[in-house]
Each structure stands twice: as C-alpha cells, then as structure tokens.
C-alpha cells in the first residue's frame, strides 16, 4: 500500500502529474464569484461557506478521472490485480494519494481565499475544520466513481454525473457546519454527520471499489 501511495505521489509531482491542478481550479472559481455576485461584503460573507464548499467539490472532481484511467491505459491496473496485494488495498492507497494531492492543499488554501469572500477568522477556522473532516469523503466516493467508469472512453463527464449527486450530503453538512459555527450557533450536529459520512465511506467504499474494478477488468 505504501508503495502505491509513494509512487502515485511521485507521479503527481512529475511533469504532467497534475499536482496543484485542483488547487488552481479552486482559486479561479473562488476569485470568479465576487466578479459575478458583486462586491457587496454582506452578501459575500453570507454565501462564502457555500461557495468555498462547492468550489472544493468541483476541484476534487477535476482530478478524479486520472485515479484509475492512467493505470488502466498502460496495463498497470491489470498487473496490480494479479499482484499479491488485495485490490481493496490498492483502492485505499489511491484514495490516500488523491486526498494528499487534492484535499490537503484545499484545506490550507480555503481560509486564505476566504479573505476574498470577506469571511472572518472564526468562519475561516470552521471552513478549515470541515474541509479536513469532509475532503476524505470526497476522495473515497470519487475513487469509487472512477472505478465504475474505468474502462469507459472519455468517461470524465459520466464520472461527474455519477459522483456529484453522491457528494451532496457532504456538501450539505459541511457548509451547514461552517454557517452555524460562524453565526455563533452550535455546529456539533452537522460536524458529527459530516464525520459519520466520511468514516462510513472510508469503511465501506474501498470494498465496493475493488469489486467494481474486478468486474471492469474482466
């Protein structure tokens, strides 16, 4: 598992690896919002949690189709399926690599970009916290979607259509927790729900991902 994780991170940092692609996309989306909505600070501060979360979702989506497609094209996935490590482990390693290259940069970039959306320090803290808890779920669910579309040519669009509805609960509870926290209300319930979704997804989806891969590799 460590071997795959290490190799994927190494590949991500090499030329054409796509490291930081999601981060730059996140940056552009967030910068575009004040242009579209106008510079009214009250309005921006109110919609900021939702905007940051939607942008994070889209940024995570952007790099999903690379997770298995590249390994499938050059035959690596077939060989990994016959290698002495379970496919579940392969799936989990892929999730880890996607999270480190996409989720973690978002966590650190979000409060900085939040300044553009006029959020205060308290809200920025909650944005970071919810992203730390929520982005692993985005990676796990996305990896499952990537496994579903692994043999499909130009499967990127299909992948988005499959995965975005599955991202909805994470988005709802993530943005809600930030709103409550920033507004001085008790954010415990949405935070717990968010953590529950992430924990459940990590526990169950690697098995589903491996099963789907086996079928797709036949």
């Amino acid at each position: 598992m460590i071997a795959i994780l290490r190799r994927d991170l190494l590949l991500a940092t090499r030329a054409g690896g796509g490291f930081g692609l999601g981060l730059v996309f996140f940056l552009i989306v967030v910068v575009l919002v004040p242009f579209g909505v106008g510079a009214d600070t009250d309005v921006l501060a109110r919609i900021a949690p939702g905007i940051l979360w939607v942008a994070a979702l889209l940024a995570a989506l952007l790099s999903l189709d690379r997770i298995f497609a590249l390994d499938h094209e050059d035959g690596t996935l077939t060989l990994l399926a016959t290698a002495p490590i379970p496919l579940e482990t392969v799936a989990l390693a892929k999730v880890g690599a996607h999270w480190v290259t996409t989720g973690v940069p978002l966590v650190f970039a979000a409060p900085a970009l939040g300044v553009l959306l006029q959020i205060d320090a308290r809200a920025a803290g909650f944005v970071m916290l919810t992203l730390v808890i929520g982005t692993p779920a985005l990676s796990v669910i996305g990896t499952f979607g990537a496994a579903l579309t692994v043999g499909v040519r130009r499967g990127g669009l299909l992948l988005s259509l499959l995965v975005l509805p599955l991202y909805m609960p994470t988005l709802i509870f993530g943005a809600e927790a930030v709103r409550r926290g920033a507004g001085g209300l008790d954010p415990a319930t949405p935070l717990l729900m968010l953590g529950g979704i992430t924990a459940g997804a990590i526990a169950l989806l690697p098995f589903a991902t491996a099963a789907v891969l086996r079928i797709n590799l036949r």
Binding site: A3, R7, D74, G75
Partner: protein, 201 residues
C-alpha cells in the same frame, strides 16, 4: 488443467483444454489471431472466471504479463522496477541490468525509451518479482533479434533452470525447449455451441 473452457465477451472461444506443465518446463501457445490465447492466459491469471473445467496454479506463484508494458513514462527505469519490487516484497537483483541490457538506461525517464526498450523494461519486471509461474502474452512484440535472444536466455537459463514454469503465447519461433500447444483444434464447433445454447434454454 482439465477440460478448461474459456470465454470472451460472453462467447466461448476455447473448450476442452487439458494439459499439464511440470516444474522447469515451458509451454508455447500457438494459433491464429483471435483464437483465444490472451483469453486463456487472462483466465489462468485469475482475471476472469472460466466457463467450465478447472485449473491449478499456486496462487502465490503466478505472474501475468500482458500486451501492455505497464511502464510509467514519468518514472525512471530504476523507479519503475523498484515499484514492482516493493509490491512483491522483493529487491531488484543486480544481474537484471545485464540480463535485459538496461544498465545504460537505468536513470533515463521511461517516457524517452523506444518501444523495444520499454518492452525490455516490462519483461525485466518478471526477473524482479521472482514468481515461479509466468503467463506471458506475446512477450517478444517490438523486440529486435538481440533482445529476443536476451529474453529467451532469461527464460531458458534462469527461470526454467531454477524450476520455474512459463506459458507463452507467441507467433515467432523462440529458442526455448518447450512443448507446443496449438489452440485451433480447441475452438468449439458451431454445432456444439448451438447444442449448449439449446441446453441452456
């Protein structure tokens, strides 16, 4: 392997295969394009279920090599081999560089290699992972005469000599002492397929 039948895309392509390969022996699979060589090897590798019959391969000793080289072009030759060594929990033997003539290419990015050099790198993986039963699908594609000789020497003098087994699908004459199995006679006749369909219905 007894009475094995394999299918591709829902259609049975080979049926009634029975053979046995002892340790230290190789088996060459022959037959025209589309006869089912790849399907048979994929079934033996456990990538797809067989239609009928059964086969026995030590699950901890099988290794499959497909048409694709599974080479990551952004990694160097050394890093590519090190990855597979990590996965299989082995280390890269020093002899591998001479065996597959990769010594000079060791620190080159795999993306800059020629098709034949990539193929040699893909085959060198077999020397790294240390498996006893090799299932090779047209291993000599895009190799030149010299590289084919390197490859046959590896299979004959090292792998088979150490008691390994190799099942190789190929179209060219390899300089390996091996039994040959022509798959063409095992293609089920139209009539047989019809009757099995009728039985199924």
């Amino acid at each position: 392997m007894r009475n094995l039948a394999v299918a591709r895309g829902g259609a049975t392509v080979l049926a009634g295969l029975t053979f046995d390969v002892a340790a230290g022996q190789a088996l060459i699979l022959r037959g025209p394009n589309g006869v089912g060589k790849t399907t048979l090897l994929r079934t033996l590798a456990g990538l797809q279920p067989q239609v009928a019959g059964d086969f026995e391969i030590d699950p901890n000793q099988g290794a499959y090599a497909s048409h694709a080289d599974a080479v990551k072009s952004a990694l160097t030759v050394q890093e590519n081999l090190a990855f597979w060594a990590d996965i299989y929990g082995t280390c890269i033997p020093d002899t591998i560089w001479d065996q597959f003539d990769l010594g000079a290419l060791r620190d080159r990015t795999a993306g800059t290699l020629s098709a034949g050099q990539k193929r040699r790198l893909g085959l060198a993986r077999l020397g790294v992972i240390g498996r006893k039963v090799l299932l090779l699908d047209e291993p000599t594609v895009s190799l030149d005469g010299f590289s084919v000789k390197l490859f046959t020497r590896f299979i004959q003098d090292q792998h088979l000599a150490a008691g390994g087994i190799a099942v190789i699908a190929t179209h060219i004459d390899l300089d390996i002492v091996a039994d040959t199995l022509d798959l063409a006679p095992f293609v089920p006749s139209k009539q047989m397929l019809d009757s099995s369909d009728a039985a199924f219905l």
